[in-house]
């Protein structure tokens, strides 16, 4: 051990703030990166599962042929 006490380790003869800031930001940023990557995966899985569940139900966007009927939509009707 290069330091006599825990206090000495934290203070590091005055260089403590610099050293600990660096290590703090290091772990923080890499942590955020990991958290972000995990969240991306979770979101993708959730969306995909929802999509697959909905697939059985017909949606108005999927219905109809690609030719389209170009019928006017009556917006006043509730």
């Amino acid at each position: 051990m290069a330091f006599d006490s825990l206090n000495a380790l934290i203070v590091m003869e005055g260089h403590g703030p610099y050293v600990w800031t660096c290590y703090g930001v290091f772990f923080l940023l890499l942590g955020v990166l990991v958290w972000w990557s995990l969240r991306e995966r979770r979101q993708l899985v959730r969306e995909q599962k929802q999509l697959q569940q909905q697939k059985t139900e017909a949606s108005p966007l999927q219905a109809g042929s690609t030719a389209g009927s170009f019928q006017r939509i009556n917006t006043s009707r509730q």
Partner: protein, 260 residues
């Protein structure tokens, strides 16, 4: 060889094999990096010139090192994308660019903080820091271009061209910045150049370097898996994998997840 290449191009195969490697990469990587950091912070002797502030080296050098190799890896993947049109290569580039940018930023940040007790200023136009700053710009450019092009295949190929142009430039940039540095400043002692480094200092440093590489391997594979799942979400195997109430836990990306 060609069969291997072909197999490597298969997303499903990749997903399974990556899942088998990842726990090991993460476990060993964390073990090495953390033990190196603890050693470096608490047990390595004090530097006779810089005092305790030199302990930043144990993260500054590994991040700087890895940030540069990640760009080189991206360039290799770029060649593979352009020449062999292998899908996984551009998945790699896309997955890894933010990680590289983060590492570059860390190298810059730690260098700047280190500069305060050493040189008495937060930022110094030191040749290495300046090169890292330009590398950060290159990373950000790659990410910006990748997200600006809607079509996935075109985006991948455009990014590959940009990364290659960048990698041709990197040695020129390094050389020119070094030259510029000597032109403008008297030689000060460098942040990381030690005439002799005792083993109590370089062994923990080496541990962190290797550990960080392994950790990078893990996060690269994990992010690549996500990207592969996203791209292949209409295919059979992904839909089976994601089947509601399915047996597998996809989030962990574990090896059991697929039964490939």
């Amino acid at each position: 060889m060609w069969q291997f290449f072909h197999k490597l191009g298969s997303p499903k195969w990749f997903y399974g094999i990556a899942g088998r490697f990842m726990p090991w990469l993460l476990g060993i990587g964390l073990l090495l990096a953390l033990s190196g950091i603890v050693w470096g912070l608490g047990f390595a002797p004090k530097d006779y010139l810089q005092g305790n502030s030199y302990r930043i080296i144990f993260i500054h050098v590994p991040t700087a090192f890895l940030a540069q190799s990640v760009y080189l890896m991206m360039a290799v993947a770029g060649v593979v994308t352009l020449v062999w049109k292998m899908k996984l290569a551009d998945v790699f580039v896309k997955a890894v660019a933010p990680v590289g940018a983060a590492l570059t930023f860390l190298a810059l940040f730690t260098g700047a903080v280190w500069g305060q007790p050493t040189w008495g200023t937060w930022w110094i136009w030191d040749a290495r820091l300046t090169s890292m700053l330009i590398l950060l710009f290159l990373y950000l450019g790659v990410m910006a271009l990748g997200s600006a092009i809607a079509d996935e295949k075109s985006a991948a190929r455009a990014v590959a061209v940009l990364v290659l142009v960048g990698v041709v430039n990197i040695p020129i940039i390094k050389y020119s910045v070094n030259w510029w540095n000597t032109l403008h400043q008297p030689a000060t002692f460098k942040l990381t150049e030690k005439p002799t480094m005792p083993p109590e200092m370089w062994v923990p440093l080496l541990l962190v370097v290797v550990g960080l590489y392994l950790w990078f391997g893990w996060i690269a594979l994990y992010r690549m898996q996500t990207e592969v799942l996203r791209r292949e979400r209409r295919s059979r195997w992904v839909q089976d994998l994601m089947h509601p109430g399915g047996r597998s836990d996809v989030s962990s990306g574990g090896a059991r997840a697929d039964g490939v």
